[in-house]
Subunit: 203 residues, 2 copies
DNA sequence: TGTTATGTACACCGCCCTGTGTGCTTACGG
DNA sequence: CCGTAAGCACACAGGGCGGTGTACATAACA
């Protein structure tokens, strides 16, 4: 890895250590958990000296917070921006999670850090609220009578599936998707499609 | 505390250190988390010498496993054994959680320990399955068409509310209860509910 | 009474953790 | 071609952790 990677993070000149650190964080924090991953191990995986790591992030806590911020694009936007789907399908697509996914990292962080004041915990809250808001937007688009409520309900289902998948070591998202389908059909007044969408986005 | 407390644990003769240790575990592990609670701190809170603690539990892992086993009577049985309620009311009563409750300790343990092989993680799985089974039993009693499915769905709702409450620092159980009411009414065929509410879903 | 199970007090070990200090190398930018 | 910022190697501080060793005290029961 002698190639330079310019570092899309900003104006770094060197060899892009920051990116490697964050990339290694994604992998190790999710695989092993935050508390069980030491900085030594992380630096080794990132092929970065510990000194360099602490020049980019003043503490592990800061690294953890930054690590969480790297999930939005892939997870949140990935589902909601698919224009090829109807709003209803988009709502359901949020439950199509590849079973490889270990656990929603925001829940994991909130539990592991165990401190609501921790920057990462605060960001986790913001993220969860953002997801619920996005779901509510989509619910509104789909014609739900109470979009906020439906968004909050679907968000709860996602979190429930994530938590339960973790505890039971078995995929719980299909169950959550089934509930979601019921809730969605109950929440969309007249035109309520059965399950295969007859395709009528309002009018 | 020079009084002897016989130890309701069984046939212990001494002063009941084991009970104090477990009692302190309940408090500290829930308040601070498992990983953030050291044995020194725990022993101090239990007013027990560390040596004694390690004579009762060969390791912290063993203590954690035993700590989890102490929840059944209060939580699981507490709701399902209430004969004053109809089956439907019992299903809904599972969502009446005092907002003081920090987080389902089984989820917390599974996340914190981060090892599916850990005895505590295995017990957490067993417990979660047991709860789902109890819910399914009650669902069957209430006349649901597919009790197993309803039990699993309600269990997922409980876990979702627990996880979301933790992350957002705001009570999510009312939302879960609302979903539960919908699911229950959808799952009980014609005029199943015998409790006081006479409002029918049918139309 | 004396034996035994129980609990105590406290120092201690080895390990791993986060975080630093210091001096050195490299590569980009002017 | 040189200056300087980025990164590296490596040892080490300081502390908390789980867990133990030892010597002593007390309560229960025979």
């Amino acid at each position: 890895m002698t190639e330079l990677e310019k570092g899309p993070t900003g104006r770094r000149r060197g060899r892009g250590a920051r990116e490697r650190i964050l990339s290694a964080s994604q992998q190790l924090f999710r695989e092993q958990g935050i508390n069980r991953t030491g900085m030594n191990e992380l630096c080794a995986a990132a092929e970065v000296s510990k000194r360099t790591a602490y020049q980019h992030f003043t503490s592990k806590d800061e690294l953890v917070a930054e690590y969480l911020r790297r999930f939005d694009p892939s997870v949140l936007s990935g589902v909601f921006d698919r224009t090829d789907l109807t709003p209803r399908e988009r709502l359901l697509a949020a439950f199509d999670i590849p079973p490889t996914t270990p656990l929603c990292p925001y829940i994991a962080a909130a539990v592991e850090l165990h401190d609501p004041q921790h920057p990462a915990s605060q960001y986790a809250r913001d993220y969860k609220k953002a997801v619920a808001a996005r779901l509510a937007d989509t619910a509104r688009e789909a014609g739900a009578t109470d979009p906020e409520q439906l968004g909050e309900q679907l968000a709860l289902l996602i979190d429930g599936a994530a938590a339960r998948t973790r505890v039971l070591n078995a995929d719980a998202f299909p169950t959550a998707a089934a509930i979601a389908a019921v809730l969605i059909d109950n929440a969309i007044p007249a035109t309520a499609s059965d399950d295969r969408q007859r395709e009528k986005v309002a009018s």
